[in-house]
């Protein structure tokens, strides 16, 4: 066996790479439900009139958890949903458990504990009734906000019992009895988003809508080159402009290096504080700044491409996984297929630009200053800690209010804007709302890292996959890949291909990268599932049948993990097969028409604990304009679709967002990001969006999240459909770099 000596030496890098990709899943799993010591009284308030107020713990950014997580509590509390009011909790993770929302983990990490919170609340109300009536609690039942004792005919509303119940000891969450799912009255029934009536009437829900008495507005001009510093600027002139209160130079704390952390420190710039945001923006236009561009000026997309080509031709830097004998297997294959796939940097482009409102209060009781913040963050606990660390203040002096979030997509796992707002409020002696412009947002994001993937695979005489060699060239410092650029050693078809090798190499990058909805997966599904389609075509086989065959192979275990029990984060090939088969059935895949200019493509993917397969039907015209006519999606996210209508919307959203990413790119020239606004980083528009159908498999596994797994399969499904329609293979995104565009 030709075990690569280098791979042996890189064991530590292997472990780091694989673990980093799964980090937030592992973090969430570490918060075992019943270890959180959650208390029903923290989440549930019941008024004498029976109105139930339930706290929503996590940030709502469109994924629906402000409605869905309280539904879990209300179901087990056994109340009528129409009597429930939902309130957003402030940041207090000691009380509420994790309040971050990312990695599609809100549902899996809440499913068990929050139902138990509701059940514990119900148990306390039953206990209060039993004491009042001097009957055994075991003889009492509940029904939609009432406790009943059948033998005596006694009944009491939760409102009547609430005060007494609240004084009773809280049961241990592990011990409470949960409902039989067949008795669910809230879970599995579509409930309207709790904020929907406020959104349709324009209520101020979002971070950008926060308004405080005496509040000032801030904007920050940053160097077009990452981490470039201010040399000189016409500050005195700008200070004289109408409405301007202060102009502050931010020296910044970033040191440009080959590896850039997602939150590398404050970016340098010039902050303008004004009595309106428009005044601040106007003053920015009058700024004349001489920048010290620093070393990042030398970076360009052309240069990255050249470095990538060299790295792809050289021996890989890091071996993530090899087994079998990849070189011999490729040499002995009946047919070898080789291709390079390329995907670009992407911006998050949330519709609500980054913002935070911050206020310092001096002379608080006990002395010292207190910082209060209103933040649209996905990860406010980490944000609070970051602010404390960056400004050198105790975290206990920071209060964080969670606003509704106008789009997350992973951008708001990073909290740089919180630090900027806190820094400004500390200096301005007034409440400050910091707002980034769209241009700031597009040019100073923590981007989805781009990549270049060299692939080589072998087929035997029967057209079966025998070997798969995968070399990802992305960004970072040697074996340490940029944030969000990691790839798991379990990337498909790892473990399923008889001979396999997965390598990485890295281009140094002085630019922030981060996590974009389905990080890694949003690109790796495009690469792996498109190449798989190429292989099926080379073998003269149906791509569905070819993939099902691979998924039926015996899984090669990771050395040392032969006896490790399967966890939900390990691929279950049967679940992936099932969604592929369902989507094939729903799209009538077997009888699809093959005609010039029109075709169907299929792809499946497992990530973030969820399984999705999607089929796209496309038409490509003579100018290579692609119109998607229809999309079918089939998903398996466990035993319950908790809020069906919202879940279906997440299915639509993942498909549409994934299509949008196919025409987007962020490029660099002279160290500067060249795209500034939606005309250069387009989102899908109404007229481009096809009818989409979403189908579910309810499997025998605990429910998991929908923020991410719906997205990755659509990219290769479209690419494969374009191939079916035209015989042309899209290996480089965005589409326009391969000669295509959206109709």
């Amino acid at each position: 066996m030709n075990l690569n000596r280098r791979s042996f030496l890189k064991v530590s890098a292997l472990t780091t790479g694989a673990l980093t990709l799964r980090l937030y899943i592992l973090q969430a799993q570490a918060q075992a439900p019943t270890k959180q010591n959650l208390k029903p009284t923290a989440f549930i308030k019941i008024a004498p009139d029976g109105t139930v107020t339930i706290k929503a713990r996590g940030p709502e950014m469109g994924q629906g958890i402000k409605t869905e997580l309280p539904m879990l509590i209300a179901e087990e509390l056994d109340v009528d949903w129409k009597n429930v009011r939902v309130e957003q909790a402030d940041l207090d993770e000691a009380t509420y458990g994790s309040q971050s929302a990312g990695g599609s983990m809100s549902t899996p990490k809440s499913w068990d504990p929050l139902r138990r919170v509701g059940a514990a609340g119900r148990q306390m109300l039953v206990a209060a009734a039993a004491i009042t009536w001097a009957v055994p609690a075991s003889e009492c039942t509940t029904d939609a906000g009432c406790v009943l004792h059948k033998a005596t005919g006694k009944q009491a509303t939760y409102g009547e019992l609430a005060a007494k119940a609240a004084a009773l000891p809280c049961p241990v969450l592990d011990t409470v009895t949960l409902k039989d799912p067949k008795d669910y009255r809230i879970i599995g029934k579509s409930q309207t988003g709790v904020d929907t009536p406020h959104i349709t009437t324009g209520k101020p829900l979002f971070g950008i809508d926060v308004s405080l008495p005496g509040m000032l507005y801030a904007a920050i001009e940053k160097c077009p080159v990452f981490a470039g510093k201010v040399k000189t600027a016409n500050l005195d002139e700008v200070k004289q402009m109408p409405g301007i209160r202060q102009v502050l130079v931010i020296d910044g704390t970033i040191k440009p290096a080959a590896y850039t952390a997602p939150e590398p420190g404050m970016e340098p710039g010039i902050a303008i504080v004004a009595d309106s945001w428009w005044h601040a923006q106007k003053a920015r236009k009058a700024l004349k700044v001489e920048w010290d561009l620093g070393p990042a000026e030398a970076q360009s997309s052309d240069n990255f491409q050249k470095q990538a080509e060299a790295l792809l031709a050289a021996p890989p830097v890091t071996t993530l996984r090899t087994y079998g004998d990849i070189d011999a297997a490729l040499k002995n294959s009946a047919k070898v297929v080789q291709a390079t796939y390329i995907f670009p940097f992407l911006a998050h482009a949330t519709l609500e630009p980054m913002n935070t409102t911050a206020q310092w209060t001096s002379g608080a009781p006990g002395g010292g200053s207190k910082l209060e913040m209103w933040v649209p963050s996905q990860n406010p606990g980490a944000g609070s800690a970051l602010v404390a660390r960056s400004l050198g203040i105790p975290e206990k002096d920071i209060t964080v209010h969670l606003t509704r979030v106008g789009g997350g997509f992973g951008r708001r796992l990073m909290n740089d804007y919180m630090v900027e707002a806190a820094w400004l409020a500390q200096r301005v002696q007034a409440p400050v709302k910091l707002l980034w412009s769209r241009e700031d947002d597009t040019t100073h994001d923590a981007y989805r890292a781009g990549g270049f993937v060299g692939l080589k695979a072998g087929l035997d005489e029967q057209g079966k996959l025998v070997a798969w060699r995968h070399h990802l060239v992305t960004y970072g410092d040697g074996g340490k890949l940029a944030p969000g650029a990691n790839i798991g050693s379990d990337e498909f078809p790892s473990g399923l291909a008889p001979h396999y090798a997965l390598y990485t190499s890295a281009i140094p990058l002085m630019l922030r990268t981060g996590y974009l909805r389905a990080p890694g997966n949003n690109a790796y599904a495009f690469v792996g599932q498109s190449f798989l389609d190429e292989l099926a075509a080379a073998a003269g086989r149906d791509p569905l049948e070819f993939q099902l065959e691979i998924l039926s192979n015996k899984m090669v275990p990771v050395p040392g993990e032969e006896n490790t029990p399967k966890s939900p984060r390990d691929l279950n090939p049967e679940r992936l097969k099932a969604v592929l088969q369902l989507v094939a059935e729903k799209s009538n895949w077997a009888n699809r028409k093959r005609e010039a200019g029109r075709g169907m493509g299929i792809a499946g993917y497992f990530c973030h604990l969820g399984y999705f397969a999607e089929v796209a039907d496309v038409t490509v015209d003579k100018d290579n304009k692609v119109k998607v006519n229809h999309v079918w999606a089939a998903g398996d996210v466990g035993s319950e679709i908790i809020n069906p209508r919202a879940a279906e919307s997440m299915g639509f959203g993942g498909v549409i967002d994934g299509m949008g990413e196919m025409a987007q790119e962020i490029t660099l020239a002279g160290g500067k990001v060249q795209q500034t606004n939606f005309h250069q980083h387009p989102l899908m528009r109404m007229k481009q969006v096809p009818p989409i159908e979403v189908f579910w498999i309810k499997s025998n596994f605990a429910p998991t999240g929908l923020g991410e797994p719906t997205l990755p399969p659509i990219l290769p499904a479209v690419v494969n459909a374009v191939f079916a329609a035209t015989g042309k293979r899209i290996r480089t995104l965005p589409l326009q770099k391969s000669g295509f565009s959206w109709a």
Partner: protein, 153 residues
């Protein structure tokens, strides 16, 4: 410089520079935060309001140009959230993050006021200037068709 505005049937006088975009007058001078900033270039439609029956982008509209004209924002669509478009949006549960929805609703309202029973092609034409990264477009289409059934003849 004082500018007289008629917003949601109420007269307001604001003291701003005449080139200030209507969007920032609504948001920062008048505390009407329902109208949203998304791009500042008329590319995303989040700032859409209705001026004299037309859906316009308030981020590109100088406040002086709409002095005296009737301006409707999301807050003024109905006193109690019962405008047919609002009812339809709630019934279909259109929003995901919700940030773009005020602009979507205002564009849909302008469409329905001139085309009470729009086809899918009418919807494509009227709504393609409003971006939504969450991908609520299928729900928006559904809600517009539903609102058409609620509109008074």
């Amino acid at each position: 410089m004082p500018v007289e505005l008629t917003i949601n049937n109420v007269s307001k006088t604001v003291d701003v520079e005449p080139d200030t975009p209507l969007l920032w007058v609504l948001r920062d001078s008048l505390n009407l935060h329902g109208t949203k900033y998304g791009c500042g270039m008329g590319l995303c439609g989040a700032c859409t309001v209705i001026v004299a029956g037309q859906a316009i982008r308030s981020c590109l509209t100088q406040v002086s140009s709409v002095a005296g004209k009737p301006i409707t924002t999301i807050e003024g669509l109905s006193p109690d959230g019962t405008h047919p478009v609002q009812q339809a949006w709630e019934k279909i549960d259109v929003p995901q993050c919700g940030y773009c929805q005020a602009g979507q609703i205002m564009s849909a309202t302008a469409l329905l006021s001139r085309t009470p029973h729009p086809t899918d092609a009418d919807i494509d034409a009227a709504m393609s200037g409003n971006l939504c990264r969450c991908g609520t477009y299928p729900r928006i289409r559904e809600a517009i068709h539903h609102a058409a059934t609620l509109e008074k003849a």
